[in-house]
Every structure is written in C-alpha cells, then in structure tokens.
C-alpha cells in the first residue's frame, strides 16, 4: 500500500462536463500526476479565489498526460472548481494517499461503491484486470441522478450491478444487500458513506473475507502535518500513530491520518466508535 512522493504541478483544465445536476466531471492535463496515479490516488486541489485549504478529490480516470475528477458540488470549493473556465491552470498536489492491494491472478474481487464513492474504482478496476483478477462491482446511490460513472467502470472491465434506494435505476436495494448475494469474492473493496462502510466491514469480518476500504474525513493540510483527518484504528495496526498509550485517556486505539496513512485501510483495522454515530 506504499506510494511515491507526490508532485506539485499546475494542471490545465481541458474539459468540463456537468454529468448530472450537481455532479461534474473535469478533465485536466497534468502529465506527471496523471502518469503516477494508482488506485485510490487523490489530488489536493488549490481552488483559485479567496482562501481555502486545498480540496481533496479522488482521481477518477487517467489517460496518458490527463486525469479526470468526478465530483459532487458539495459546497464552496467544489462549486468554485466547477465554475472554472476551460484553459484555467489549477495547482494540484498528487498523487496522494496509498493504494488498494491487488490479489493473486484468478481471484475474484468485489467492489462496493456508494454514490460518489465510485471514484477510486476506475483505476482499481484497471489494475485488477491487468493483474488477471475478475472484477464484480455493486454500485448504489440514493437515486438515479446520483449514479455516475457506471459506463466507464464497465468499459474498464468491471461486471457492474446497479441499485438505488428509490428503485429509479437498477434494483431497489442497498449496496450491502447485493454484496451479501455475491459469494464468490476473495476480496472486497469499499468506498462510500460511513454507514455503508461500517456495514460492509461487519459483513466482511463475519464472513472472514479480506476487505479494504477507502475512507474520508475533513482534511486540513492533506499532507500529514495537521492531524486533522484522523480515524481510529486498532491499537498497534501498521497505519496507526504507534504513540505510547496515554495515562489520561486510557487509550484503546490509535489514530491514523486518512490523508497520508490512508486513504485505504484494511477493514479489520478500522474501529467504529461512538464518534461516528
């Protein structure tokens, strides 16, 4: 799950498409970042304009010197990013974060993606297919408009099943319902809302299936310096801080930084504390 040093590069916006109301796909020319990206890689984008900390966004697709971002218009930074005109230069740091691990040839991998959580899986599917791994994917969303990127995932070689909470596209089901029906998977990869990830981890642990999830938190620095993006992990796990236990808080877990220790964590290392409630 290691990764090389990230790069600071000015990416040029070369395409800009509103793929659904509130959802955007932006293409950038950024040769060094595009060529270094792997599964679950993300970029930290400096959105031009009044100050804000860099915006972390997963790398969706890459081709030669280009990468694309697929994102929802959440708030200030994504709104401003979506309104840049083609030709603008945008400072990016990337690729950041670790990668999903790739199983042996001939295995079957199951991808579980909730909504915009599909982003890390285009690159993963390509890597898995290149390694001779079969890829099944369950992609779910609240409603049809929130379901984006399915065609590209299929093109990359995944066998995709779709579901929505309201049945407006595919099965009317939750991602986990469909995941439970797949019995052949040797490894599960998850990304999406916390509730989904939590249930997925529980499922994987009950059924003793290897599982890795890509996590999210509000980032400050995106570089590992501010300790703002931590998640609790099993004490002693490889990605945790490894600091000695504190006499004050009778620590039962470590914190790991999503930005540089992750974003990918083995499901068995992630703790689901009250804080997530």
């Amino acid at each position: 799950m290691a990764s090389d040093a990230p790069l600071l590069e000015t990416a040029t916006l070369i395409s800009r498409e509103q793929v659904a109301p509130g959802f955007w796909c932006l293409g950038f020319r950024s040769p060094r970042i595009a060529r270094a990206a792997g599964s679950a890689s993300y970029v930290a984008v400096d959105v031009p304009g009044v100050f804000s900390v860099r915006l972390p966004l997963g790398i969706w697709t890459t081709r030669d010197d280009e990468f694309s971002l697929l994102f929802r218009e959440w708030g200030d930074r994504t709104r401003r990013l979506a309104r840049l005109s083609v030709g603008s230069g945008v400072s990016c740091i990337g690729p950041l974060g670790n990668h999903f691990s790739i199983p042996v040839k001939g295995s079957t991998a199951l991808i579980a993606a909730g909504g915009i959580g599909i982003v890390p899986f285009w690159l993963l599917t390509r890597e898995l297919r290149a390694a001779g791994v079969n890829v099944r994917a369950i992609v779910g969303a609240r409603t049809k408009a929130h379901l984006n990127g399915v065609a590209q995932l299929r093109e990359a070689g995944a066998d995709v099943t779709v579901c929505t909470d309201d049945g407006s596209e595919g099965d009317k089901a939750m991602v986990l319902d469909l995941v439970k029906r797949v019995h052949a998977a040797n490894v599960i990869y998850g990304c999406g809302p916390l509730g989904m990830l939590r249930a997925l981890c529980a499922h994987a642990s009950e059924n003793r299936i290897q599982c890795e999830i890509s996590m999210e938190e509000t980032f400050g620095c995106s570089m590992g310096t501010c300790w703002g993006c931590v998640v609790p992990v099993r004490r002693g796990s490889q990605q945790g801080s490894g600091y000695p236990p504190s006499p004050r808080d009778s620590r039962t877990y470590d914190f790991a930084r999503v930005c540089v220790d992750g974003t990918v964590f083995p499901a068995s290392d992630v703790l689901w504390l009250e804080a997530y409630a």
């Binding site: 040093a5 990230p6 790069l7 600071l8 400096d46 009044v50 100050f51 804000s52 900390v53 860099r54 708030g75 200030d76 930074r77 400072s91 740091i93 938190e217 509000t218 980032f219 400050g220 620095c221 995106s222 570089m223 590992g224 310096t225 501010c226 300790w227 703002g228 993006c229 931590v230 998640v231 801080s241 600091y243 000695p244 236990p245 504190s246 006499p247 004050r248 808080d249 620590r251 914190f255 540089v260 504390l273 804080a275």
Partner: protein, 332 residues
C-alpha cells in the same frame, strides 16, 4: 537584480529572535508543519528561516475525536486536542531526526500546569538541533478552572518565569488573541524574561452543523485560523509592539508577502505561517521574496528596517537587542 532563490540580491534577510539568527524572517507555525518532512516531499522547506514543531505535552495524548476540522469563510477551525506522543517518546524517537532539518528548529512545549511546562521545556533544553523553545501558553490551565494561561498576566508570568529559571535556550511565549487587552499579557511575558513573544494563536470559535443540529467539530469549540483572522493578528501585534521591546513573531492569516508585511510593519520582527501552507506549500518562498523586495523598494539594506515601520509607537526601536530589560517583578 534577483538572487537565484528569487529574492533580490544585496538585501540582508536575516533577523535575530532572542539571540537566534534566522536566514530570513519566515517561520512555519506550530502544529502546521511538524518537522517539515511531509511538506519536504513536495517543496524545499529550507525556504523557511525556521520551523516550529508541533507542541509537545508531558504525557502522551490521544487528542480529540473527529471531525477535528471545519471550513469557514477565508479560514478554518481546528480542534486537534494536542494529540501527540508525550515528551519521553519525543526525546527518544523524534528529537534525533531534528539535526537533519535544513533550517532552524524551534520546539514547542504545551502544558496544563506550570510543572508540566517546566518538565517539557527542561527535557527539550539542550537537545541537538533545537534552537529555541516556544511555550504554547494558550492551553487551558487545569490549576485554574481550565482557563487559558495566557488570558491572565499572572499565569503567563508564572509559566514563563518558571521555565526561564530552568532552561538555557531562548524562550518564546506564544500568546492568545482571546483577551480584552493583549498589552498586560505581553508585558508580563517580557518581564518574566521571555526572549520573544509570538502571536496570535487561534481565536476561540465554533461552527454548527445545521443539518444535524450539533457542533460541527466533535470537540464543540475550536480555533479559528487563516486569512479571516489576519486583521485581529495585525491589531494585537500592533498593540504588543507598543508595549514590549523583545522581538515579536507575528502570525495569523498570512497568505502572501503583502500580508506578512502588514504584520512586520505593525511591529513583528519575524512572521509565522500556519494555515496558508495548507493551500500553498511554496508560501514561505513567496513571502520571503516579497519581504526582501519591499526592503529593496524602500532602499533598506536589511529587512529588519521594515519592523514597526507603520507603528509610530513601536517600542522596539528604542530598545537595542543587547540591552534587554531585567525582570521588573510582577505580582504573582
């Protein structure tokens, strides 16, 4: 007319902070840069005249639950909760790496009692590669109902004086902006023997997650930083500079060279940059070069001439660095 590093040639960029010479007046702010290794992956961190380490406490601390960060207009909130390994681990595992940092290193000590400050500062004193100790007196004081040390001249004095009695390294007192009047606090720090003061730490603030009807940060309240608070930082540096003669490290919302010059002209001898690193990892180089360029534009040989330039009441100019005042004795 430009040196290879982008700064104009022939301008003396160096500044003196309590006897420590920095090659230029930019400092990475505590809690935002660690020892530079992470940002060092993408930029040359020796652009900074110094870096300040994350504050270390005596005991290991798990810190606060998450979310620890929230975004606000032109700024951000954080409530990290001083997560860290504690001083023993720091001395054993992190301090040995400091000698390889390619710029001056300032360590930062935090504590919840005067004794904790003394213990941490004493353990830091003399570590190879550490040039000065900053005291994060903006922590809550558990001996005094959790009030922050630096809201009261007496507790500020107590911490600084106790540490000064025990350590040889220069001591920088880092003050909080959450006070009605910074002047008595700055004066108390100076009179207690601080070799410099740094300000401002973050502003007490909070955000509500309206969707869920609860505070956005798990900790409830947090500290506001970034450009939003710069006018408050300029004001408090301005007031402090009329009050103390020891050097001031100004910080709070510096994003550009112009911003840094605001703080220097208000009275800061050096400037620290925190949150802006989270946008622009090259910020130190940009700020350094802009400070040098402003000195050149004004025909100054040294950037030191910019300090207090806009502040007619600037006390520092009447007080040469080698004639620092004796402790005058504040009621404790």
């Amino acid at each position: 007319m430009s040196a290879s590093n982008g700064a104009p040639a022939n301008i003396d960029l160096s500044v003196d902070i309590g006897g420590v010479t920095l090659t230029n007046p930019t400092i990475a702010a505590s809690g935002c840069y660690n020892r530079g290794a992470e940002f060092g992956r993408v930029v040359d961190i020796s652009a900074y005249g110094a870096i300040t380490l994350k504050s270390v406490t005596r005991e290991p601390r798990l810190g606060n639950a998450m979310p620890r960060i929230a975004l606000t207009p032109a700024g951000m909130l954080n409530a990290i909760g001083l997560e860290g390994p504690g001083i023993d681990y720091f001395v054993a595992h992190e301090a040995p790496k400091l000698s390889s940092v390619p710029t001056v290193v300032i360590a930062s000590a935090a504590g919840f009692t005067v004794g904790e400050f003394v213990d941490v500062a004493s353990a830091i004193d003399g570590l190879p590669g550490v040039a000065a100790i900053e005291l994060d007196v903006s922590c809550p004081n558990v001996d005094s109902e959790g009030e922050c040390f630096a809201v009261d001249p007496r507790t500020t004095d107590a911490v600084v004086a106790a540490v000064k009695r025990r350590v040889k390294l220069p001591v920088i007192a880092k003050l909080t902006p959450n006070v009605a009047d910074i002047r008595p606090i700055a004066r108390a720090a100076e009179e207690a023997g601080a070799d410099a003061i740094s300000l401002v730490n973050s502003l007490r603030a909070m955000a509500i997650d309206v969707e869920r009807a609860r505070p956005t940060l798990a900790n409830g309240t947090g500290g506001l930083t970034g450009p939003a608070i710069r006018p408050v930082a300029v004001y408090q540096v301005w007031e402090s500079a009329q009050t103390v003669r020891i050097p001031i490290i100004g910080m709070g919302g510096i994003e550009t060279g112009r911003d840094a010059l605001e703080l220097m002209m208000a009275g800061a001898s050096a400037v620290a940059i925190g949150t802006a690193n989270f946008r622009d990892p090259l910020v130190a180089a940009h700020v350094r070069d802009a400070i040098a360029e402003e000195a050149r534009r004004r025909g100054f040989a040294s950037v030191r001439a910019l300090t207090g330039l806009a502040n007619p009441g600037f006390a520092g100019k009447r007080w040469p660095a080698d004639r620092r005042p004796q402790r005058l004795g504040v009621s404790r």
